[in-house]
């Protein structure tokens, strides 16, 4: 198995589980919350606000992961230049 830093692995698991949990919540709200999503906030329906929030969450998850991984890599002075075909 490839060597993976423990903290990085934990971050990965938490981010992934959290993200997929919210993905499930999103799908559940869409499937069951039709009436709720028809309500509008300042003229914009909840459904669209939910999609917008989801989009931001997706970008945020990606950036957090990259930022933290980059920070650890620099801190450990571990070379990030892995080679192809190591397997």
């Amino acid at each position: 198995m490839p060597r993976v830093h423990n903290a990085q692995a934990r971050l990965r698991v938490w981010l992934l589980c959290g993200y997929l949990f919210f993905y499930g919540v999103f799908c559940g709200v869409v499937a069951w919350g039709g009436t709720l999503l028809q309500q509008a906030v300042n003229g914009v329906p909840w459904g669209l606000l939910l999609c917008g929030a989801w989009l931001l969450l997706t970008l945020l998850t990606g950036f957090i992961y990259h930022a933290v991984c980059g920070f650890w890599e620099r801190r450990q002075e571990a070379p990030s230049e892995d080679t192809h075909g190591a397997g």
Binding site: L16, A31, G47, L48, T58, G62, C69, D82, G87
Partner: protein, 631 residues
């Protein structure tokens, strides 16, 4: 200059640019690594933009806008799933894949075993997936070509197929990458400009192209229709029309079939609000496509005579004309009443028809879920279907071979992550724009009832000839970029996985290059034929099936190998075959495919349109049990 001439000129200009890039970069490709993964030395920003160009296929550009134009909010859930899939790919697959693989996805799957069976299975599924994913691209292409160039869809598909083959055969991954970069950048730019134009214009009460269909209601109490000796008396018509049948019987929601066997008329029964009588609503009807098929080439959808262009407001709030902002656009849309079309597929005297009934929907309804997925009337089955779709979308991206091989083209882990982020940002921006374009297309008077894939190009036509020609040329480039990426992945599976690593043929660098190029030609030809056969089906819908097969065939094995322990060769094989085959079989038995073969949707052995909710757990179970019993 005529519409077709301008479009062809722009398209040819784009082709010349693409081919120039291809030949220029082709002179610098002399090794297999250079051909298959661009030497692994691409800049992360270039790779990220190439991800955008690769992933934003016809399914995204044509299909998403088309679904939003048809179903409003329900069209947005596709991009939500597509984007979520990138997070899964970033967190689960991107980095380990780079460690384990070299040229193809098969490399990574086989790294732990060095097994001929795993290599063959993985390469076969790569080929199958690339071919399946080529289908929606070719379908999108056919939808573009027929109305624009005035040629049958298959001719346009052949033209672009040949160009793609030249691109892939000349320079491989490097030229494919730059084609995708150009295409991704153009796509984002043109979508942005068209969205700005839509906001600037605002909403129009009367679309520039008036709807060709008379949407008036025919007031006709039910008793009167029943008692006139089996004939239908329609206001404004001199002669009574004999009623053939009423499907399924006299009740709201039924279809009254009248007229001759050759050209039957369909009337939709609906209850009048607050009255004791029912109305008969005029409809638009066309023969289902497979009924028109002659020989091995189907009749192009858009050649059917008299296909109405629809999409209009029935009521529009004041001050809905432009310029509007992103928020006020939504607010005005929400306060409007829109004419949408409900499709019914009845069978009359052994022939299947597509009957479209005009219905009135509020903007609020169109911006809430359920227009396409039918959560209220469909109950649990429609919800299961929806969850199955979303499961395939979120897990499918991390299993698509043509996407994953891009991770081999950058030099470092950090570059792989950065290029994923560039892709995420680019695609998120595009999907927001696509939503606005879809809403605008819904009400621009240019929506083709029989083929939703043309929603955005026809929206551009409402702005004039030049925007239409530019957008169409970019749509061509969209298909071109994705198809070249897919053919690239498939040729890698043949030349590297099968010929070199599986068969152990004594091929040198030059022979491997030639094999890859020959494979590209064969794959291109098969894709052309499949594209013609599936013409007219929404391309996002088709793509969602590919995601289901990809996730079922690959994802459990990839996750098990990269992050689990005790995974065996037999477990991986069982997972790939059970997952991949079950997904494909369930698709074949699903209602959309069954109706395509001429049967009733209710007769479908598998009740859901999307198989992932069954095939993915099966695949995971096969991996676990297969590994446990063979450890």
């Amino acid at each position: 200059m005529e519409q077709a001439e301008l479009t062809v000129a722009l398209f040819l200009g784009l082709l010349v640019l693409v081919l120039a890039i291809s030949f220029y970069l082709g002179r610098r490709t002399h090794t297999a690594a250079g051909y298959f993964v661009a030497g692994g030395q691409l800049h992360w920003a270039v790779n990220g933009l190439a991800f955008v160009g690769d992933y934003l296929s016809a399914a995204s550009f044509l299909g998403i806008c088309g679904i939003v134009a048809q179903a409003g909010f329900d069209g947005i859930v596709y991009p939500v799933g597509f984007l979520a899939g990138w997070v899964v790919a970033l967190l689960l697959v991107a980095e380990p894949l780079r460690r384990w693989g070299r040229f193809t996805l098969t490399d990574a799957l086989d790294a732990a075993f060095d097994s001929a069976a795993v290599r063959l299975s993985a390469a076969l599924f790569t080929l199958i997936l690339c071919l399946l994913y080529l289908v929606p691209q070719m379908v999108g292409l056919a939808a573009l070509v027929t109305p624009l160039l005035g040629v049958p869809g298959y001719q346009g598909v052949m033209l672009v197929g040949i160009v793609v083959t030249i691109i892939v055969a000349t320079a491989g991954m490097r030229s494919t990458t730059y084609v995708q970069v150009v295409k991704g950048a153009l796509l984002l730019l043109v979508s942005l400009l068209l969205t700005l134009a839509v906001w600037q214009r605002g909403f129009l009460q009367q679309p520039p192209t008036p709807t060709a269909f008379p949407a008036q209601k025919q007031g006709l109490p039910l008793k009167q229709a029943r008692h006139v000796a089996g004939a239908l008396h329609v206001k404004g018509q001199q002669q009574a029309v004999p009623i053939k049948t009423v499907l399924p019987g006299w009740q709201p929601g039924a279809l009254v079939v009248a007229g001759s066997s050759e050209t039957p008329q369909f009337w939709y029964v609906e209850k009048a609000a607050g009255a004791d009588s029912w109305w008969l609503q005029a409809t638009y009807a066309a023969l289902a496509r497979h009924e028109e098929q002659q020989g091995w080439l189907p009749k192009p959808v858009l050649e059917s005579p008299g296909v109405p262009l629809t999409g209009r407001f029935l009521k529009l709030p004041p001050e809905a004309k432009g310029p509007l902002g992103p928020l006020s656009f939504i607010q005005k849309f929400q306060g409007s009443e829109i004419e949408v079309w409900q499709e019914i597929v009845p069978t009359v005297e052994g022939r299947r028809y597509r009957v479209f009934v005009p219905r009135q929907r509020s903007g609020v309804q169109m911006l809430a879920p359920g227009q396409r997925f039918g959560f209220v009337e469909g109950g649990w089955a429609s919800r299961l279907n929806f969850f199955s779709l979303m499961l395939a979308l979120v897990l499918g991206t991390a299993s698509l071979p043509h996407v994953l091989i891009r991770y081999y083209t950058v030099p470092t882990r950090s570059a792989a992550r950065k290029s994923t982020l560039v892709a995420l940002v680019g695609m998120a921006a595009f999907y927001v724009l696509a939503f606005y374009l879809g809403l605008a297309a819904m009400t621009s008077g240019n929506l083709n009832l029989l083929d939703s894939n043309m929603a955005v190009p026809l929206l551009a036509r409402s702005f004039g000839l030049l925007p239409f020609a530019i957008l169409t040329a970019v749509a061509f480039a969209t298909v071109l970029g994705t198809v070249s990426g897919l053919v690239m992945a498939a040729s890698g599976a043949v030349a590297h996985d099968i010929m070199d690593r599986l068969l152990g043929l004594p091929v040198g660098e030059q022979q491997k290059l030639i094999c890859g190029r020959l494979a590209a030609i064969v794959i291109g030809c098969v894709a052309i034929y499949l594209g013609v056969v599936f013409e007219g089906v929404n391309v996002s819908f088709l793509a969602s099936w590919v995601f289901a097969v990809a996730a079922s065939a690959y994802l459990p094995s990839l996750v098990g190998l990269f992050w689990g322990t005790g995974v065996t060769r037999q477990g991986v094989l069982a997972s790939m075959w059970l997952g991949g085959i079950s997904a494909m079989v369930l698709i074949m038995l699903s209602p959309p495919m069954v109706t395509r073969w001429g049967f009733e949707a209710a007769a479908a052995p598998f009740p859901l349109a999307h198989p992932a909710i069954v095939s993915l757990p099966l695949s995971a179970l096969a991996l676990v049990l297969g590994s446990r019993f063979t450890r």
